[in-house]
């Protein structure tokens, strides 16, 4: 079991002043983002242990705040890994403190989301957050916390230890926040539905302030392979990251430093690169001046011979799971999924998974219904700015005899150690040529298969119609001609009807 590692980095004050960048722009958006961030942490916590997640979310009404906004209490329970007690205060009471700084695919990044939500709750309601967690050992720890915004430190208001009789494991977070649920509701419900779609192994329950229950039951207990932690790839580092790597490394020379701290760098690659960058292999990395670090970063990007990153740090859903999720939520008549081989952009590996669902519960909107996901997170805003949307729009659909008027849903999942979001709000993916190409190729592949399906369906349909026409009219012709010819008995047309069935395909 990989123990999550925690380390301290930065300050809450900055985010307090700039909470817009985390997506907490208005009361309706804030409540959506808060739910999303906490739920994603829960899903990650369960997945890291390969436990099919059980996430229970309850939002309850606490009172009026302003004319348009209300105070809500948000409670999220999960069956995830749990948090060791010594980390709990910082994990929820200190911004940019997180377990997600190593490079592997996870839903959140920056250690920002969950704490931003808590911070937002504290700012708007001045109430503490309650965190209860257990890693499944003998004890359950319960904290009542607030954040000291100026010093970016947790204040522990209360701490309880309980005996874990039932070997419960998981985390419960509860805090109050101001928001506008009524306006946020459609997005929140859509968020849960789509989350269920790409997490078919999760049970998700949501009780809303009106007491309405939304239940998304898992369709499988199969989980995707857990991502492996990797070192950053040389193409993907910036000066900031380099400095941090230098700080933590135990290497005392450049050759070891490169080999230990970077992904896919071995003895030979390290040597060749240092030669290329004209850095002595024996140089101690901790002795690099700022200018040297900048130059190193530039050379890392310039050097063409690094091996591409491998995708073991990624955890795509896989075609089967994606299929299961979509079948569960959309019940389509036809579904095709396709996973692309791993690819990279700027040193970051990524995988595109794409699905096309036709008919069934797929809504008919006169245009394709697009479901976008990044690292299993539904992206619900700014659709038109997203790379997938652009690729879909640019596609020559007529070539595939597919029309936007058909009931078609397109599901695009991009997973990466660093999803190329355009904004910190994490709502849409930027139009990078590498990503665009992968999405386009995947789209072409599923479109081809849908085209085959539609052609087959059309053929079956035509065949049925044909047979229907013959079996409707031939008996009538027999009847009318019998009357006209003044015969007693109808002519035998069974043979003719059979022949139509038998040779049906050759007639047009």
């Amino acid at each position: 079991m990989a123990q999550a590692t925690f380390e301290e980095i930065s300050a809450s004050d900055f985010f307090y002043r700039n909470r817009d960048i985390a997506g907490l722009t208005n009361p309706s958006r804030a409540i959506f983002v808060a739910i999303r961030e906490i739920v994603e942490n829960s899903l990650d916590a369960a997945e890291s242990q390969k436990i099919p997640p059980d996430v229970y979310v309850r939002l309850s009404y606490e009172g009026e705040a302003t004319k348009e906004t209300q105070i809500y209490k948000l409670r999220v329970e999960d069956n995830g890994s749990g948090i060791p007690p010594r980390f709990i205060p910082s994990a929820f009471g200190q911004v940019l403190y997180g377990s997600k700084y190593k490079l592997k695919q996870a839903r959140g990044t920056f250690g920002l989301g969950g704490k931003m939500a808590v911070l937002y709750g504290q700012i708007t309601t001045h109430q503490p957050v309650f965190v209860t967690s257990s890693t499944g050992q003998e004890k359950i720890y319960s904290f009542k916390l607030m954040i000291d915004i100026q010093r970016n430190k947790p204040i522990i208001l209360d701490r309880k230890v309980l005996i874990n009789k039932d070997q419960w494991r998981g985390t419960i977070v509860e805090f109050t926040l101001e928001g506008d649920y009524l306006r946020a509701m459609p997005k929140i419900i859509e968020y849960f539905k789509q989350t269920a779609m790409v997490n078919p192994y999760a049970n998700i329950t949501f009780v809303d302030p009106k007491g309405r229950l939304y239940k998304f039951t898992r369709g499988t207990t199969v989980m995707p392979e857990s991502p492996k932690e990797t070192m950053p790839h040389p193409y993907g580092v910036d000066v900031e990251l380099l400095q941090r790597l230098i700080q933590i490394t135990t290497a005392t020379n450049m050759s070891d430093f490169l080999k230990r701290q970077f992904h896919r760098v071995g003895e030979i690659t390290a040597q060749k690169f240092l030669e290329f960058a004209a850095i002595p292999p024996s140089k101690n990395p901790k002795k690099l001046s700022h200018e040297e670090i900048v130059r190193l970063m530039q050379n890392l990007k310039k050097y063409k011979e690094f091996l591409p990153p491998d995708a073991s740090c990624l955890s795509p859903l896989g075609e089967d799971l994606l299929k299961a999720g979509i079948l569960k939520e959309l019940k389509p008549e036809y579904l095709v999924v396709h996973q692309r081989k791993p690819s990279t952009y700027a040193g970051h590996p990524f995988i595109v998974e794409l699905a096309m669902a036709y008919g069934g519960d797929v809504p008919k909107r006169g245009t394709f219904v697009i479901y976008r996901f990044a690292n299993k997170i539904p992206l619900l805003y700014d659709e038109a700015s997203d790379v997938s949307y652009r690729v879909i729009q640019a596609m020559n659909w007529r070539r595939y005899k597919v029309a936007p008027e058909m009931p078609i849903a397109i599901v695009v999942h991009i997973c990466s150690t660093k999803v190329p979001y355009k904004t910190v709000g994490k709502e849409f993916i930027s139009d990078r040529p590498e990503v665009r190409r992968e999405v386009a190729n995947a789209l072409r592949e599923v479109a081809r298969q849908l085209q085959h399906f539609l052609a087959r369906q059309e053929h079956v349909h035509m065949e049925k119609k044909r047979l229907g026409i013959f079996s409707k009219y031939l008996p009538k012709i027999a009847e009318f001609s019998t009357t006209l010819a003044q015969k007693e008995k109808l002519p035998d047309i069974d043979k003719l009807l059979k022949s139509v069935q038998k040779y049906g395909a050759e007639e047009s």
Partner: protein
Amino acid sequence: MAQKKAKIAERQNEVIASLKNFGTQIYNQLDQGDFPTISMPSRSTENINYDPTLRQFILGEKSVSRSARNIRHIKPFTQLAWAAMFSNELTTQRKTSTLRDVYYSAQAYEMTFTDQQESNNIITDLETLTGFAREDFHIFPEERSAIFGDLDIGYTVPGYEGKTLNLTSHPDGVLIGPALTSAEFINTRADKVIAIEKGALFTRFIEENVHNKHKSLLISCGGQAPRQTRSFIRRLHDELNLPVYILTDGDPWGMHIAQVIISGSANAAHLRDLNTPDAVWSGVWATDIVEYKLPTDPLDEVDIKRLNELARDPRYQNDPLWQREIKLFLKIKKKAEQEAFSRYGLTYIVDEYLPTKLEAAKGKK
């Protein structure tokens, strides 16, 4: 007389026989395990030719076949079989029907036609296939025209068999409907037929006693003469040996109303005996407009376009009269209605114009 009566009955039997023949053909093909197939002359424009000997349009050599094997044919094929059965029923039971009726009656057999046009087409197919007009199958159009004059007819429709009528009995004239067109001609004192484009002049003629003065049977066409009226005129000409004179407005449209009575239409190229090639257009000519100094209206663009079309029409080639009048119309660029004669008093047309024209026509013969 008995011979004449037999004529109507004989035609009816021929109709019924041809329908039965059609049915038997299909029945036998089906019974032998074959998809029934029929073939009939094509009615496409390129297969419609003008026959100068018959003096009407006829269908050429091209034929089309309909096979129940073909998915696109089987529905119209079934409709055709149904139409034949329906016509057979009407004819044997001596009931009459209309095209509209046909459209609705089909629905009782789950043989819904998409629209009236589709059912009309099927009836035309049946005409083409058998060579009989739909009126022979007792399917009549809605339009009616009228006849007035000293002609005794004997009904053959059920309930009226043996009853006779003199066609001067009603001053508004007698409708040329199924009962009249299926009637036998018994006796007439008239020596000519005058077909008139408009009802108003028809009434004037009756009031002015034209039927006596000129010993004529008067027919109101009501604009373009319906097919049954055209076929009725043909019968009057053939069976009673009466010359036919046609009076229309003095414009391209009136001229063509006369022409259709004389030479038929392209739409009826698959049928015979709907036209009367010996009928004569007596006026109003462009020449009359000039000669009688009639009050006129100027020709409009559509009139001129129509005149140019008619000039090229094969039906307008056999008599120099047509080309002469077309040219004159185009020259004077004027047209006149039949009523224009009223400028010389209400009776002028009857007292002066008509005798002159009839005399002229006689002289020409």
